[in-house]
Symmetry: C2
Subunit: 541 residues, 2 copies
């Protein structure tokens, strides 16, 4: 498109980008409607709004102001939600940290983010966190450990902090940075992703257009709120004006309880969670009040989607990134049966193409997924070079490999970094994993490339077998023989008890690679198959 | 808010504002889903998309290009919809004209808009429109009069125009001007309102957040498409991915037929239409498949809203402007009973305040409605002075008077231009009209101010009485006596057969004023009441 101007005066700029504070607007329009439900906590929009105001005044007395970078260490829950809204009213930048990280990792992220304030959820077990708590230049405040339930008046969420008499922001500039979320990079240090309010807004709207919007919806988040999938729900539930339902930690029975009681119409999960939910409920059908299970956190196993289709689970597989404030593409819950493996078309505001060395791929051709549009991040905090590499003319190079079918539905296969090149041929680990998992005796599998002097890389697989079945590497090979080209077949196969996965269910290929390389010296070098004595729980074949 | 920057690189500007062409995206994601239903025409998104492409190529051969101003003279219907989408693919500016205008008015608007091309719907009765058709510098093309129904392939909508081989735009820049809509000004010439794609997008999203969004919705538009309320539906139905259902002209029985057959879940109407629909259906209840009647076009008569509440009609009264791409505030259909007369809170992205001489009004205080946000127009075409008067720092002065209640619900009373100032006191005509209409013998009323040498202005009313009742001015006065302050009571009361209203149901106060001033010479000058012999159908008292 050219930049030639059309009729009329120039754009009005900043004023157009300002919208009312979402929580304040809902608190005014529907003060008594439920906003947050978490155990005994049941807050209306008015109650949540007052707490956000009170907390903002407390934070102001700590010196938090426009642009202050504030790290948040919390397991999630009401304290997290209130604090995020409070920081918005001060124009501060929120940096949610993952409390599962080691102290050294947290200290590194605090320094990298340039955080001036660290807010600790009182509900966290006290950490012996000298590295975290005693950093020069970082003020620390600790929240109350107990959240009083109900109640109409605002109560402090920070211990022993006074209120400052400041004027709070009642508008949101969509181009302001809301927060920094650290991604778990496949190599090197994590990167802080700068997300604006506009990124969150457009993500919420794009999702709504795909999944629909009912004024009586209730959205269950049994996910960590410090990841983008959880933080996105904090924003979209206030934008939609519907309650966010939180669980302390993931519990399949608790999720089933909410669903069966008709308490929730939408729930966000990753595959591993959904599998546990399905296992826990047996053949009990889902009630019609559950209208959508948004399934993220990496490609869903085909078997899981088939189970959902058979059992009538209204599942919506999605592909998303921290860099796009969550969803990029999502399949409607009514479309899953027809297109196994697809994550649907891109959300309406998102442009998506498959790039092969600068050329747009044809349908069916594999390449790198690149996306553009208003959900794409501002950049990486303090990493201009990496920002420039990732964002070119507004297009985000995701580093993920996939293809589009004739209808423009996206299929995601792998991280580009995980691509195995052996003898000049491309092997997509996900394809090999899918073939392995199609064996009735295989419960899970992970595939990586290992350095190989002759072929460049060699395909290596770790396999978890189902308890009742005893498999040998030759059985697996025989099964793959008619299903995969010769060069795609694993040269190494190890049986293991579990495939390393993140809390979000993502395969941790780097760990597999490290482990596999450590096993290989025991390899006989036989091209027909790896060998070695079983070690502990690993039976190497 | 200050403009101090927050963390990170600067905004990415234009790329962020670009989204995929909405129709093209839906045609790809849901090719077989219904997009347009109008009599025998039933087009899927794929069919509508192909027709838009074909028409765009024809328009390109007429020289239509980025920024070309193209006037559209059409009764609406599929031809209008296809042409609007086709113009988007060329980056042209669409100027829908009202075919009810006289030739001289059309010629004036064509010149004012600087239209280079005029497209005439072939379905229009041939106009003896020398003034319109033969303008220097304006190319004219005539569309086919008959729209072929169904069919998968694209057919031309312009007679005898070849296709040009041009590349069509597949992206929409939200800051591009989509069109110019002329407003019916209360005084002076109409003004062309510049609306961007972003204005339409945000209007669609704000409405969706208030009314909900179901993927199986169908929206009936028995409204002219050249007004903003109709044009907004052309856009929002493709943004939502739902069918737009069109009627050739408003027909209460046809509307009831669609509703009763369960063919539509949403319908946009003005009060006069809804009254006719209700009258035509008697006591027949609405089926639950109709989930919302969006009621616009000026303040709804209280009696109508009461009837709706009694009969369970899911009505959503709305306040909107051409300058805001339709809705500003809308009451949810579940909220009408509790707040008679309110049009609800502003849509989520819209900021609204009541201004009294530069001060923000308190709840309950009457003042001018001013709004800001991403639905606010770019400005008036070619009228920098009027744009500067209307838009100050992004805030649009609507010229409408209203107030907010404690909950932030908006009540709209009058145009500021219609305010009557008598003896230094403000009189809101709508308040006097409401008091008049509360009389069981009064069917309708209109109130204006007339010049008065002593008081500045004098309150004058025209009243329509119910057929079975014979009223005198003294009866009316006695009724108002305990209900209105002395200075608000009409000095002149005339009985008439009908109050002049626009097709949209809006009171035409200018006409009332002109008529009333012509009556006044017969006034005896008696302060207690106007007098004069009944004339024709008007009984002056």
């Amino acid at each position: 498109m050219s930049d030639r101007p059309t009729a009329g005066p120039p754009p009005k700029s900043r004023r157009d980008r300002c919208v009312p504070d979402w929580l304040a607007a809902q608190a005014r329009a529907m003060p008594g409607a439920p906003a947050l439900i978490a155990g005994s906590v049941q807050w209306t929009f008015e109650q949540l709004d007052r707490r956000a105001d009170r907390t903002a005044r407390q934070l102001a007395s700590l010196g938090v102001d426009r642009g202050t970078r504030v790290a948040l260490l919390s397991w999630g829950g009401p304290w997290f939600v209130v604090t995020v809204h409070a920081l918005t009213r001060l124009g501060a930048v929120t940096i949610p940290l993952n409390p599962r990280l080691a102290d050294a990792e947290l200290a590194w992220q605090l320094a990298d983010a340039g955080a001036a304030v660290l807010l600790l959820d009182g509900a966290l077990a006290p950490r012996s966190a000298q590295a975290v708590l005693n950093r020069p230049g970082v003020r620390v405040a600790v929240g109350d450990s107990a959240e009083p339930a109900g109640g109409g008046s605002a109560v402090p969420v920070l211990s022993s902090v006074r209120d400052a008499d400041v004027s709070l922001r009642r508008e949101i500039d969509l181009e302001d940075v809301q927060g920094v979320i650290y991604t778990s990079a496949t190599s090197g240090r994590p990167k802080g992703v700068l997300l604006t309010y506009g990124n969150h807004w457009w993500s919420a709207i794009g999702s709504m257009l795909r999944l629909g919007h009912r004024r009586d919806d209730r959205w269950l988040a049994p996910l960590p709120l410090w990841h983008v999938g959880g933080l996105a729900l904090v924003w979209r539930t206030v934008i939609y004006g519907i309650p966010l339902v939180l669980h302390d930690a993931f519990d399949a029975d608790a999720v089933n309880g909410e669903i069966d009681a008709g308490n929730v119409s939408l729930v966000s999960m990753v595959s591993a969670m959904l599998e546990r939910v399905l296992a826990a409920r047996g053949n009990r059908p889902f009630p019609p009040s559950l209208r959508c299970v948004l399934l993220g956190g990496g490609p869903a196993p085909r078997g899981l989607l088939e189970t959902c289709a058979r059992s009538g689970v209204p599942v919506a597989p999605t592909y998303g990134l921290t860099e796009t404030a969550s969803q990029v593409a999502t399949l409607g819950p009514d479309e899953v049966t027809g297109t196994p493996g697809a994550v649907g078309p891109p959300l309406l505001p998102t442009r998506l193409r498959i790039d092969i060395d600068g050329r747009w791929a044809a349908p069916g051709e594999m390449g790198e997924i690149v996306v553009a549009g208003p959900t794409v991040m501002r950049g990486y905090l303090g990493r201009d070079d990496e920002t420039a590499r990732a964002l070119r003319d507004g297009w985000l190079r995701t580093g993920d490999l996939g293809y589009l079918d004739d209808r423009g539905y996206l299929y995601v296969l792998d991280r580009r970094d995980d691509l195995i090149i052996t003898g000049g041929e491309n092997v997509y680990p996900a394809e090999v994993e899918a073939a392995l998992c199609a064996h009735p005796g295989v419960a899970d599998a992970g595939v990586v490339g290992l350095p190989d002097p002759r072929w460049g890389q060699a395909v290596a697989a770790i396999v978890v077998q189902r308890p009742s079945i005893s498999l040998r590497a030759d059985d697996v090979r025989a099964f793959l023989e008619p299903r995969l080209a010769r060069y795609k077949q694993p040269r190494y196969v190890w049986f293991v008890d579990a495939v390393p996965r993140s809390a979000g269910g993502k395969l941790l290929r780097r760990e597999i690679r490290t482990w596999a390389e450590a096993q290989r010296p025991r390899d006989t070098g036989d091209l027909g198959g790896a060998a070695g004595a079983p070690q502990d729980s690993d039976r190497c074949v």
